[in-house]
Structures are given as structure tokens and as C-alpha cells.
Symmetry: C2
Subunit: 483 residues, 2 copies
């Protein structure tokens, strides 16, 4: 079954890429309220295609996030206002035939997201972010690798199997594609929590991560978690003139700088008390495997990062620092005047966006509580602070001793002709934690991005060879998992 | 002569305010390139009125700032590109008759500026910044106090004197009004430097400062200088994802925070080595006079600043800290993502706008050199810096032992019926230094703003009683200076 499907995928590869380009042309930036219609259009595009290839029960599931709860005289609190969320795309196909040996039918939940990061700064793109362009075997567009290209691998693997299998699949399949991954994924988290039966499965296949190197089949078995916060600092009642008031009025931008400078020391070690208390060290076997990976820190510095030096905690390798150690970053500081020229303002308020990456056994709740308590304890004089949690996701580690991980390993070995390496990722895929907690299922993180794909940055790309190998690997994984 | 002019001003006061409102409706934001036409429109409005009231040689003087100088094979370097500046408004009236006692005729140079600060944040204005609105005796609009309202006092004092003096003035008068005060005033600085003869005068009258209290006639005899800088920090080659790279890639926003936190300590003392070396202490007489002023720090904190505490160097009063001590402020930090929601970016670059206020005997050149050297010396690892000077102005002190200061004191005494207080201002008026250096003349800083006028902030206002008393004071000052 899988060989015919692979042949079909190869014969139709060019069409698959053209279809993906149409999806990439839709600017489904979930963080931008003005793009809400585009986000929905991307969901509809995927739903239409799932229906066309023969998937069933295809539908958009609306999501919303309750924002205000008012007590009512006649009963319990009532939600009176809700923010409309971006829809989930759902489909299934549940007609797999049990194998001759009586093994129960396996159900695989395919997960991906169709929303993308904002494309800014626009002037750093060589070709426009929403005009997909092929150059040297890469497809450049916002969302090409993260994650529309990988979602399309799922859809096209399903098409290849259905088209060559007489409308049947080797396993039962449910598909869920969300549109809020880049803004915290509250909608899918609520759906998973409230309707676990509608997503019942044995394993999730998540393709939203990257390979370690272009020809190295990779399974990601660990993810960092995160807490994304805002620190709002208020000083004077209104903006003040720095000539008249400089030397007497508190400056919220200076206060935020003073706070940020105390969040980690200059070597990169986070200074929040007890922040490292529950950090679990990788096993000796993991550390040994990571040392054997083809990784050169100087090459990484020069080609991937491009800075004069790398930073981070002393005593840990780059892979340990980005996969198995917490990190803290500042993403933006709003307030005052940042336009062209000079405005001599002491702003009344300023806001810093600060996130922390978490590793197993840290929890989001405790980490945020430690952060908030510490920030409040170092508040400069004259300043009042509000520390807010914007969103969060648990860190996860997936066991390699799992039939589905073995099936994925075998599928990729067939496609790549090489041993699969097990890595972790520094990124966060909160849904993986939700699947563990609410559905009780592990996730196979079979991603086909590359380290230099510029996800979340200008000139994001997807290596097209990986798009095709990804489809083949998923076809073989589903076949092997159902055998 | 002055009594008739004062009567004229009183009878025409309402018309004067309506004319001022028309000027305030023009959004002459000099820092915004898209407002260039509006800035010119404000200049033209003033020129038309100066011509109407009988001033002579009224004209707009174009300014430009050379930006590129190329060596030429046939001679010295040639300016090949220039940024177009905002025009100066010039007028004069040089027909004063010498007094009977043979004293030489005095020439007064009236200075003000017609450009305004950006109005942002717009949502904090109770009424729109460019729709002048009267409330409780105040006129609310961007530029009402800083400085269009005060420019209009000059124009209306001239009108009152010309209308009641048979087309003659008690002194020779030159008027120069600039349109780049809020962006560094390079145009007028160049004009003063290159054409001192066209502005030849005995004294400048500058109305761009404030009174110490609503009914307290005030002359400002000292100004802080300033250097306005940008620190640009670069880390990775492109924006990076904080999940993948957090813990290894340098973060320019964190680097700027670390640098800013080292620019002054938490008490407010600036940490740049040798920065205080040339700070001249106020005289004992000045300090004694300041202590006698009606100033209550707690009232100031609560009503003017509105913060929980004041900040600044220990051991100095608020007036010393804001008038006679240097100060350092951050006005904005650009880079990364500051929109709604969460973007997990480590930006490739970030820029902080940082200014320092200078006091006599500090110089702008040495202060900037000390700042630049220090910032570069504390550059965090993995980061490259560029430290730029955006504009600067010298600090100045004007002697109170001056005939024109005495004439101004006497004029204000007549109008207010109270003794004039001599103060300094924490703000910077670079042109005062240019007048000293290039024209060899002192400036009388007779300003009629109030401490709560919200200049450079939302809800800027001008107290209309001061507008009228200002006109009267200027009429009496010119009459007295010419007697």
C-alpha cells in the first residue's frame, strides 16, 4: 500500500507544491486582529482540500476565549463577553480494517497549525512574505516551514494513501489543525479539555519541529515549555518633559531596564531565586548522544546566529543551553517615543514583553509565581508594576521506548537510508502537553524543518526536498503503524 | 505709549485668542516628515500676520542641512545632498527714534518657534490636540504653551504698539521664528552662524519658558543644555526564534537594558566616569533664593508628577536636581515586537534613545565623548554597538546684572504687582547659547508657561490669563527698554 502511495506522491509532487503556494499566499497572521478574515480563509482552504481528498466529517470548529465573568443574582457567574478565536479544522477517517492477527485498529491524530507569525520587519525580506518564491530548492514565504508546509505534508500523505488505497487508510485518522498556535493556542487547549472524546486516538503525529541537519532523519523527543509575560511599569501620571522633570520624575523605561538587568547576570544565568530548583538534568545517555551529533559551535555561531559571540550559561554546551536549560528573553519594550528624530519625553508607562523557556520538571505556574514575586521585589522607587502572564505551555519529554516512535524511526530510515537521531527542541509546542494531560497519548514529533529555515524571522523558507521526503515518511509511518 | 498699547491689547484680547486658535489648528509637527507642508503653513500664517500689522522685510528664510560632502577634482569639497529644513520667519522694524538724551537706539531680537512636539499618545488627550479648546480659562492644544501661544504674544505686543504708536515702535525690533526647535534647531543655528549681521541686536527676548507659579512674575536666568543620543545594538544577523536560540543567541534588547542599568545607579547618580567633573555649583545666593521660593516637594510630587515617589540624586533638592544637576533619561527603545499578543522573537537589532541634560560648565562635545567611550566599554558580549549624537545644545546662565533684565523685571512688576523671582529651567533652549556665541548678546527669558501646562505631553494647555499678561509685559518691556 505504501509503495503505491509513495509513487503517487512523487508523480504529483509539483501539484502539491503549487497547492501549498496558494495556502502560503493567505496572510493568516493570528496575532493581528485585522487579519482575522485571512486566518479564516486559510482554515477554509485546508477544509476544502480535506473534503476533496475523501476525508470525512470535515468541519470548522469555532473557538472563543471567555474574558469577563459577572456574578448573576439568579445563579452562578455568567460569561458576558468572549473574544472570538480562530477556528479549528477537523476531519476524520475511521474505517481502517483490523489486521489479520487481530491487533486492534490504531488511531492517529494528525496535528499542525495554519496560522503564522507576523512578517515584520518587511524590508528585510528578499521577496515578499506572502508571495511564495522558489530559489535553489527552497520555498520562501512566511509559514512555509512553520507550519503550513508541514500541515500540507499531512494532507498530501492522506491524499496519496486514499487515492491509491481505494479510498481506505491503513489506520484510523483524525486531523486537527489550529489557527492560534502563534498566539498561545487557547482555543485548541479548551477544545481538547472539553471534548477529549472527539479527539480520541492512540498517538499524535506532530510535524512542527525541525531536523538536526538536512539529510539526518530526526525525531524530537523533548520540548521546552514557556511562560510569556508582560511587565508594565508606571511612573508619573502623564508623560513629562525630560528637561523640566529629568532628575526628579521616575522613568518607567529606565526602571524596566534596571529590572531586566537583574533578571539574568551577564553570563546568562537567570537570577530569579529558586528558578532552577526543579530543573531535571538530561540523562548521561542523552548527553552522550548529543555530543555525537554533527554540531560545531563555531559553525553554528557563524552561519546560523551570525553574532560576534554566543551567549548563555557557562559550563553548558549550546545544545544543553537551548534544549535542556531554561532561558529568558526580552521581545520588545513599548513606551515613549521610537520614531525618527528626537522627542524628549519621560513616558508615564512602559511595557516589556519577557518570556522564559522551561525544561522538565519545571511547571509554568510555579515559574511564573517565582518570576512575579522577584520582579515585584526589585521594583525601583517611584514605579508601580503589573506583571501579567500572557500564555504558557508545559515542557515535555517523550519516551523513545514506544511503538509509535519505533514505527516513525523505521519509516524515516526507509526514506533517508540513515539512522534516526533523537534530539530535543528548544521551542515550545504547548499542545503536546495538552495531549498528554487531557488525551493520555504521546506525540511523535516528526518535523521536517531545517535549522536555517528562519522561522519567526524574515526570509522564512522550507526546503522542498524535505517537503517531499516528509510526505513519504508520513505515508510509511501510517502504513507501518497500522501493520 | 505703553498704556495706549496695553488698552488696545485688552480691547482686542478675544480676537488675539481666536487668531491663536487658527495657528494651533495647524499640526506643525517638525519631527514628522509627512507634516512638512503643515509646518510651512504655520510659518506662512505668522508671516502674513507680521506683514498685516506693519512689520517690514517679512520673509521666509529657507534652511537646509548639508548631509553629504564629496571631494571634487576641480576644487574643495562640494555639498551634493542636503536635507530640506523648515523655514525661518523673519521680520524687522528699524525706525525707532533716538531718545532726547541721545542714548543710542536699542534693537531687540524676538525669538520663538512655531513647530510643535508630536501629539502622541493621542488617546490620552481629552480634546483633540489640534482642535484648540477652552476649558476653565485654559486653552488646550498641542503647542499652546510651547511655543505658539508665546510667539503670538510677541506678535500681538508688536501689533498693539504699532497700532497705537502711529506705526512706530519704541525700539528697533527684529523677529525670528524657527520651525525646528523640537528637532534640534540646526537650521537657525546655521543661519545665526552664517548671517550674524542680519540678526544684529542688543538683546534677545525669548519666550519659551515658564513662570514659577501662576501669579509669580519670573525671569529664567539659567538653562540646562542637552545631548540627545541613540545607542544601536546588534546581535544576530537576523531576527531569531527565542525557543530555538534562547540561551545561545545574544539579545540586543537585554544588552540595551544592561547598558542602561549601568548608566546611572538606583539613586539616580550618573555612572559615566568624569561626567560630573565640570559641573559648576550654583552660588550660595542662588541656592538661598531657591530655598525661599514657594515650592513644596510633596505637593510637586502629588500634583505635577503624580508618582508614588520622586527620584534623583540624594543630597540635592528637587530644584537643584532639575536646574543645576545633570540628568539622564531614556525616551524609547525600538526593536523586536511590541504589538498586541506574543511574538517570540530575539531581534537582530534594537535602538535606545537616551538623552542627558547638561549644566554650566559642562560641554556637549566632552559629555558625548565621555558617554560614548563609557557605553562602548560596557558593551555586553556578542553585541556590536553604534553610539550616535542626534543633537545637542550648550547649557547657559544669564547674568541678572544687566539693563535688559532690569527692564524686564520692572515691566513684569508693573503688570503683576509683585517682585520678580529669578529661577533656572531644567529644559534646554540651544538658541540662547548660539545668541551668546555668534551674536554676542544675552537673552531675557521671559516665559509665561506654567509648570502644569503639560508641554511635550497629552493635554498641553496655555493659561489664557498669562497670554494676556504676557502681551502686556512685553509691551512694557519694549517701551521701558527704549526709554
Amino acid at each position: 500500500m505504501s509503495d503505491a502511495a509513495v509513487t503517487f506522491a512523487k508523480e504529483n509532487g509539483e501539484r502539491f507544491v503549487e497547492e501549498l503556494k496558494a495556502l502560503l499566499r493567505i496572510p493568516s497572521v493570528s496575532t493581528d486582529p485585522e487579519r482575522a478574515a485571512d486566518v479564516r480563509r486559510a482554515a477554509e482552504y485546508i477544509a476544502v482540500e480535506l473534503r476533496r481528498i475523501g476525508m470525512e466529517n470535515v468541519r470548522l470548529i469555532e473557538t472563543s476565549t471567555p474574558e469577563t465573568v459577572l456574578a448573576s443574582s439568579s445563579g452562578p457567574g455568567q460569561v458576558v463577553a468572549a473574544r472570538e478565536g480562530h477556528p479549528l479544522v477537523y476531519a476524520d477517517h475511521l474505517h481502517a480494517v483490523p489486521a489479520a492477527d487481530g491487533k486492534p485498529v490504531v488511531t492517529i491524530l494528525l496535528y499542525g497549525h495554519y496560522d503564522v507569525q507576523p512578517p515584520e520587519p518587511l524590508d528585510e525580506w528578499k521577496t515578499p512574505p506572502f508571495e511564495p518564491t522558489e530559489r535553489d530548492g527552497d520555498l520562501f514565504a512566511r509559514g512555509s516551514a512553520d507550519d503550513k508546509g508541514q500541515v500540507w505534508m499531512h494532507v498530501k500523505a492522506l491524499e496519496s494513501l486514499l487515492a491509491t488505497g481505494g479510498g481506505r487508510l491503513p489506520v484510523n485518522v483524525r486531523v486537527i489543525v489550529e489557527g492560534e498556535e502563534e498566539v498561545g493556542g487557547e482555543g485548541i487547549a479548551a477544545f481538547v479539555r472539553e471534548h477529549p472524546d472527539q479527539l480520541a486516538a492512540d498517538v499524535a503525529l506532530v510535524s512542527d519541529s525541525e531536523m538536526f541537519a538536512p539529510d539526518l532523519p530526526t525525531l524530537c523527543v523533548g520540548l521546552r515549555g514557556m511562560i510569556y509575560t508582560e511587565i508594565e511599569a508606571r511612573g508619573a501620571r502623564t508623560d513629562l518633559h525630560s528637561g523640566m522633570y529629568g532628575g526628579a520624575a521616575p522613568n518607567p523605561l529606565v526602571a524596566l531596564a534596571q529590572i531586566i538587568a537583574k533578571l539574568k547576570d551577564e553570563s546568562g544565568r537567570i537570577l530569579i531565586p529558586h528558578f532552577y530548583d526543579h530543573v531535571a538534568a538530561p540523562t548521561a545517555a542523552e548527553l552522550k548522544a548529543w555530543k555525537a551529533l554533527p554540531f560545531d559551535e563555531e559553525h553554528y555561531r557563524e552561519t546560523e546566529v551570525g553574532s560576534t559571540e554566543l551567549t548563555g550559561e557557562p559550563g553548558f554546551s549550546v545544545l544543553e543551553r537551548t534544549w535542556a536549560r531554561p532561558a529568558l528573553d526580552v521581545h520588545g519594550i513599548a513606551g515613549g517615543f521610537t520614531g525618527a528624530g528626537a522627542k524628549t519625553v519621560i513616558p508615564a508607562r512602559a511595557v516589556a514583553k519577557v518570556s522564559m523557556r522551561l525544561v522538565p520538571e519545571m511547571t509554568t505556574a510555579e515559574s511564573f509565581a517565582l518570576f512575579k514575586t522577584y520582579v515585584e521585589s526589585i521594583c525601583p522607587r517611584g514605579i508601580t508594576l503589573e506583571v501579567r502572564l500572557i500564555h504558557s505551555g508545559d515542557p515535555t519529554v517523550v519516551s523513545t521506548d514506544n511503538a509509535f516512535v519505533r514505527a516513525a524511526t523505521s519509516a524515516m530510515h526507509t526514506v533517508f537510508g540513515k539512522e534516526t537521531v533523537y534530539i530535543r527542541s528548544g521551542g515550545s509546542i504547548p499542545i503536546v502537553g495538552d495531549f498528554i494531560r487531557e488525551l493520555g497519548i504521546p506525540s511523535v514529533l516528526m518535523g521536517f524543518g531545517l535549522p536555517d529555515d528562519n522561522i519567526h524571522a524574515p526570509n522564512e523558507k522550507f526546503h522542498l526536498a524535505n517537503f517531499h521526503r516528509g510526505i513519504e515518511s508520513i505515508v510509511r509511518f501510517m502504513t507501518s503503524a497500522g501493520a
